[in-house]
């Protein structure tokens, strides 16, 4: 019944909204890219396989943050908390209770969703900066709890079991799992954006009160969006733990990781499907090329990138590429924004 209604809604949307034709180019581009990514491990070196594995992880993380931050408009500085909870839960379940790996990752992700639901009911009543500050608080509090628990190994960190396969095989496996999850989550993000649910989220972002009087159950939608985001982030956390085979609280509950995927979302374009993908790749490639050479300065360079983004391309790279806005357009927009 519900799915039939949704289908009708989508049909009506297609006739009622004009869909821009240029969106269609994304499908072939995406397929070519995906095929290239699948073939890469057979031609690339081990180093670049690891770099790309991490890039795919960030594609997934940025896409999941985008659901709460881009679509819904709730800037979440602490989304990394779900990354940590996912990693730790997976580690505990695998290391101490001998859960099969996929089941452990799934349980970790479900726990993240539950955590988001419990936190969301009070926190998502806050708006704007207040919500953002609260998420930082949640992250810090969670890190303290994990640091002081016995089962997680406390501040010493936690080792994951070592798998009995060759390092090359292991890296390949990690690569394909991260690639698969990233592709899946970009697809999920695309489907959510097109759905009636995503339409409601956009309305909440545009004007929450107006969304309420249009009959959108705002609290339920916001909490659901955060639960989805948490689930996706949680699975990636679990896989990250298995891949790195060691986590410690200051590593996975680090606001810098949160900021990193927030910056990816902003650079690429918040609220778009492919913006976070572009942002994640851009940042990962930049960091590989630049960070290594400026170890002391990399935070400064990161800050400069953020400032340049806000001044020159505040709507994200994708917006300017898609609408073919050149330097002239960017300057005109800057004048309009009185910079």
């Amino acid at each position: 019944m519900a799915s039939r209604l949704l289908k009708q809604w989508n049909q009506s949307k297609e006739t009622l909204f004009s869909q821009s034709a240029q969106r269609r180019i994304w499908l072939p581009v995406g397929i070519v890219f995906l095929l290239g990514a699948i073939a890469f491990p057979f031609i690339g070196t081990g180093y670049w396989i690891r770099v790309l594995t991490s890039a795919f992880m960030y594609v997934g993380l940025a896409s999941s943050l985008n659901i709460i931050m881009g679509y819904t408009g709730y800037t979440d500085f602490g989304n990394v908390v779900f990354f940590g909870v996912g990693a730790y839960t997976t580690g505990v379940l695998v290391g101490q209770f001998n859960f099969p790996l996929p089941l452990a990752v799934l349980c970790g992700a479900l726990l993240c969703s539950l955590y988001a639901a419990l936190l969301g009911l009070p926190l998502l009543r806050l708006r704007g900066h207040y919500f953002s500050i609260a998420t930082i608080g949640v992250m810090d509090a969670t890190r303290e709890i994990v640091t002081n628990m016995k089962i997680t190994g406390g501040g010493m960190g936690m080792s994951f079991p070592i798998f009995d396969i060759s390092p090359q095989m292991f890296n390949m496996l990690a690569y394909y799992i991260m690639l698969g999850l990233a592709a899946l989550y970009v697809l999920a993000s695309f489907l959510i954006r097109r759905s009636r649910f995503g339409f409601g989220l956009r309305a909440i972002r545009a004007d929450e009160q107006a969304a309420g009087i249009s009959g959108i159950p705002t609290t339920r939608f916001k909490v659901t969006a955060w639960m989805i985001s948490a689930f996706m982030t949680g699975t990636l956390g679990g896989v990250f733990g298995l891949w790195f085979s060691f986590v410690e609280p200051s590593d996975v509950f680090d606001i810098m990781i949160s900021l990193k995927f927030m910056i990816m979302v902003l650079i690429g374009g918040a609220g778009t499907v492919f913006g976070p993908v572009i942002g994640a790749f851009f940042m990962e490639i930049v960091s590989e090329l630049v960070w290594g050479r400026f170890l002391e300065l990399h935070m400064g360079i990161l800050a400069i990138i953020v400032i340049l983004t806000v001044i020159f391309v505040p709507k994200g790279i994708l917006h300017y590429v898609q609408n073919r806005i050149g330097l002239k357009g960017i300057l005109a927009e800057m004048r309009q924004n009185k910079i």
């Binding site: 809604w9 049909q11 909204f17 339409f199 409601g200 009160q209 309420g212 009087i213 249009s214 009959g215």
Partner: protein
């Protein structure tokens, strides 16, 4: 009675904004609520539409059903539409998308399409500019769009908060005519206004709200003749 508000009390924290409000809107009526700045008009509308929660003991009955403890989206489904103060359009969405947002709770695609056509007949300018972003419209057009969005939920009761806000008198007159048409099509209208004259001319019955208390109620024509009201609001 379509809408009954009984003993409604509301407070922002410790500051009580509404005191024992009792009012009724009958099916097919046009009822006006007037009052000066800060009297609590918008607060009352937000209570009725479910954006704010009244204190215990308050009761809101719509179409024979107690809706006091329901959320805003449920009330939209039941047939209450609010055209909020200051329009509150989705500025970054097109006019068409704004109107579709008004129909969010509905899934009867065919009827939505028909309603859209009827609304475009009512506001031809919106059809002309349907692909334009709502934020780029003039004040009067934005108000039209807000009313149209309210109508897209196919309401039984249309509540309009400050129709005249920031609009030229001639635009207000034209909008009032449109609302008359909407009313003639069978929608009950609850009008909240600072422009007392326009509101009472338009309506059959009226209420006067002063610092959170309902101080007068009755036939709109009688209210307009009332000496106290004349003095306080009409400057006569």
């Amino acid at each position: 009675m379509l809408l009954q508000v009984k003993n409604l009390n509301f407070a922002y924290g410790d500051v009580q904004a509404l005191w024992d409000i009792n009012l009724e809107v009958g099916k097919g009526e046009v009822v006006a609520l007037v009052g000066s700045n800060g009297a609590g008009k918008s607060t009352l509308l937000k209570n009725i539409s479910g954006l704010l929660r009244p204190r215990k003991g308050s009761q809101i009955i719509f179409d024979g059903e107690d809706i006091t403890n329901t959320t805003a989206d449920v009330r939209v489904r039941k047939g209450i539409a609010l055209v909020p103060e200051g329009r509150q359009l989705f500025a970054g969405l097109t006019i068409r998308e704004n109107l579709m947002m008004g129909a969010f709770t509905r899934s009867d695609v065919k009827a939505i399409q028909e309603d859209l056509e009827r609304i475009f007949a009512l506001f031809p300018i919106l059809e002309e500019r349907q692909a334009q972003l709502a934020g780029t419209l003039s004040g009067g057009e934005q108000q039209m769009c807000a009313i149209a969005r309210g109508l897209m939920s196919n309401p039984k009761l249309l509540m309009i908060d400050e129709l005249s806000l920031g609009l030229a008198p001639v635009v207000v007159d034209r909008l009032m005519e449109t609302i008359q048409t909407i009313h003639d099509n069978g929608v009950t209208v609850f009008l909240v206004e600072q422009d007392v004259q326009a509101a009472f001319q338009m309506s059959e019955r009226g209420y006067v709200l002063e610092t959170g208390h309902l101080v007068h109620s009755g036939n709109s024509r009688d209210l307009m003749e009332d000496e106290a009201i004349k003095k306080a609001y009409l400057g006569i």
